[in-house]
């Protein structure tokens, strides 16, 4: 299988390192990133070669940090990019697309992409245990893929996580450690544990490799648009990594002459109750102030985003913007996407859809531009936020008799005409 040469490089001082489980520069303490030899890559990649391969993220393997011996077996990624005309009509966009990672395999979130790359490297580094700190989706994905690949998994989560995300981790046989504290506390603990135990923490010591998996969202968007870049991308932000990696993917495609150069605006989405990055953008600040998260969008609840600084730069340089919406708007947006396009997303997707609507209303995104909304997770994992919305209708049950149904139908009809009349009077 074709692989590329790659190494680690400090994002600040440029010092390079041979491949190893390390995420921090020993010279300047800044984050490391995977870098490639693009000159030699250019001769080895083509649209046709990518398109001829199976529809999963491994079709872009030359652009990922994959050890030569790795043989990825799971069909991760290549999720649908679907046009969203009904949603577009409601929120004011005529060329709107949904990148739907709510159906990413194997655990229904975009985290499957990053974990797949991280575990390929964990194997080559000789780890027997893989681990992560997580707000849920990462936990599910590490647990599932560790089971599949034969690793022991240790998962560290905030104790107040959604029950479906906890169960959806335990079922794979992972050790789940609940921590009394926020995600930021869990994450700090994990960086200390990674200091003491020889474990492959996907988002600590394997982080440079892990983060590269997110680029495949960008490659797929370009390929699915016919090897063209969109005008705008709206991306949810927690740690801030995804938006920077989609940008890196687009930049690489341009560098490798796989798409025509074109400016793309990057828009970041956060929940108002945890909005350190969007707040900095809106205040034109270059520094990110940490926050104590308080939002139902728990998968985005990172108050001290590690890649916040880079997300800020990516957004500002692109001419984009960031916004945040309330928890009430998050729930409404989940319903809006489901009712318009038949896509059921989790709270993070609600944040992204609601933020896109807000940005369109602010004229920061224009109706005739090609806009992609990144939906990163599945609604079945966060049903708790919707329970109150449907309680009354689900409590009404009728006998299995036609007459009862006709009476039910009539009562529904009179109820809705009453509502219509009230609305008419209200006008």
């Amino acid at each position: 299988m074709g692989t590329s040469t790659y190494q680690l490089r400090c994002r600040e001082c440029g010092k390079t390192y041979a491949n190893q489980p390390r995420s921090i520069c020993e010279s300047c303490f800044s984050p490391l990133e995977v870098t490639y030899d693009y000159d030699s890559l250019r001769a080895h990649v083509s649209r046709d070669a990518f398109a001829s391969r199976a529809p999963n993220m491994w079709r872009y393997r030359e652009l990922l940090p994959l050890p030569a011996e790795s043989q990825p077996s799971l069909p991760v990624g290549f999720t649908p990019l679907t046009s969203a005309p009904r949603l577009g009509e409601k929120i004011g966009s005529r060329r709107l697309f949904i990148k739907n990672d709510a159906v990413c395999l194997p655990t229904l979130s975009f985290k499957d992409r990053v974990v797949a790359v991280a575990l390929a490297n964990a194997r080559s580094f000789g780890f027997e245990v893989v681990a992560c700190s997580s707000t849920g989706n990462l936990a599910n994905s590490v647990a599932a893929q560790a089971a599949r690949e034969g690793f022991k998994a240790w998962i560290f989560i905030p104790s107040d996580l959604e029950p479906a995300k906890i169960l959806g981790t335990q079922v794979y046989g992972a050790e789940v450690v609940r921590i009394n504290g926020s995600y930021d506390h869990v994450n700090r603990l994990c960086s200390q544990i990674a200091d003491e135990h020889r474990w492959g923490f996907v988002n600590v010591n394997l982080r440079p490799y892990y983060a590269e998996g997110s680029k495949t969202v960008g490659y797929e968007i370009a390929e699915q648009l016919g090897w063209r870049l969109p005008d705008n991308v709206v991306v949810p932000m927690a740690g801030g990594s995804l938006i920077t990696k989609i940008k890196k993917a687009f930049d690489e495609l341009i560098l490798l002459k796989l798409v025509d150069p074109k400016p793309v605006k990057f828009f970041g989405a956060q929940a108002a109750g945890c909005s350190p990055i969007s707040t900095a953008i809106k205040q034109y600040s270059s520094e990110i102030e940490p926050q104590r998260p308080k939002t139902i969008a728990r998968s985005l609840a990172i108050g001290n985003p590690a890649d916040g600084h880079y997300a800020l730069q990516a957004i500002n340089k692109s001419g984009g913007w960031a916004e945040d919406i309330t928890d009430t708007e998050v729930v409404e947006s989940i319903q809006l996407l489901a009712e318009s396009e038949g896509v059921f997303t989790e709270t993070a997707g609600g944040v992204t859809v609601g933020t896109a609507r807000k940005l369109i209303h602010q004229d920061r995104i224009l109706p005739d531009e090609t806009t992609v909304i990144c939906v990163t997770g599945n609604g079945l994992k966060t049903t708790d936020v919707l329970v109150d919305k449907y309680r009354s209708s689900s409590e009404t049950a009728i006998a299995p008799k036609l007459a009862e149904f006709e009476a039910y139908l009539a009562s529904k009809a009179s109820l809705s005409s009453a509502v219509t009349e009230t609305a008419a009077v209200g006008r």
Partner: protein, 93 residues
């Protein structure tokens, strides 16, 4: 009055392997000065040229981010445990 500072593995090669330091600093500036004098090699890793705490270094006092406690204005209390942690978060969406 004394506080304990935990040094992360990534920085211990600059402290001759010392994993923790006990000192009597009363605030962040004094703490940095103390570390500077004890471990001169560590100095450029804690603060930038302008004297500000480095962007990718998080400082916690008894589990809490020092920025929530007032940052440089926070007065250390007797027995405080200070953690220096590199910023490598990420794992949610």
């Amino acid at each position: 009055m004394s506080i304990t500072v935990q040094i992360p593995t990534a920085l211990r090669r600059l402290t001759a392997g010392t994993p923790s330091v006990v000192c009597s600093a009363t605030n962040l500036s004094e703490l940095f000065s103390h570390l500077d004098s004890q471990f001169p090699d560590l100095k450029p890793h804690l603060r930038d040229e302008a004297g500000e705490t480095r962007r990718f270094l998080n400082i916690y006092v008894n589990e809490e981010d020092i920025r929530f406690l007032g940052g440089a204005a926070y007065s250390f209390q007797d027995g405080d445990e200070v953690l220096l942690v590199p910023s490598i978060a990420g794992g949610a969406e």
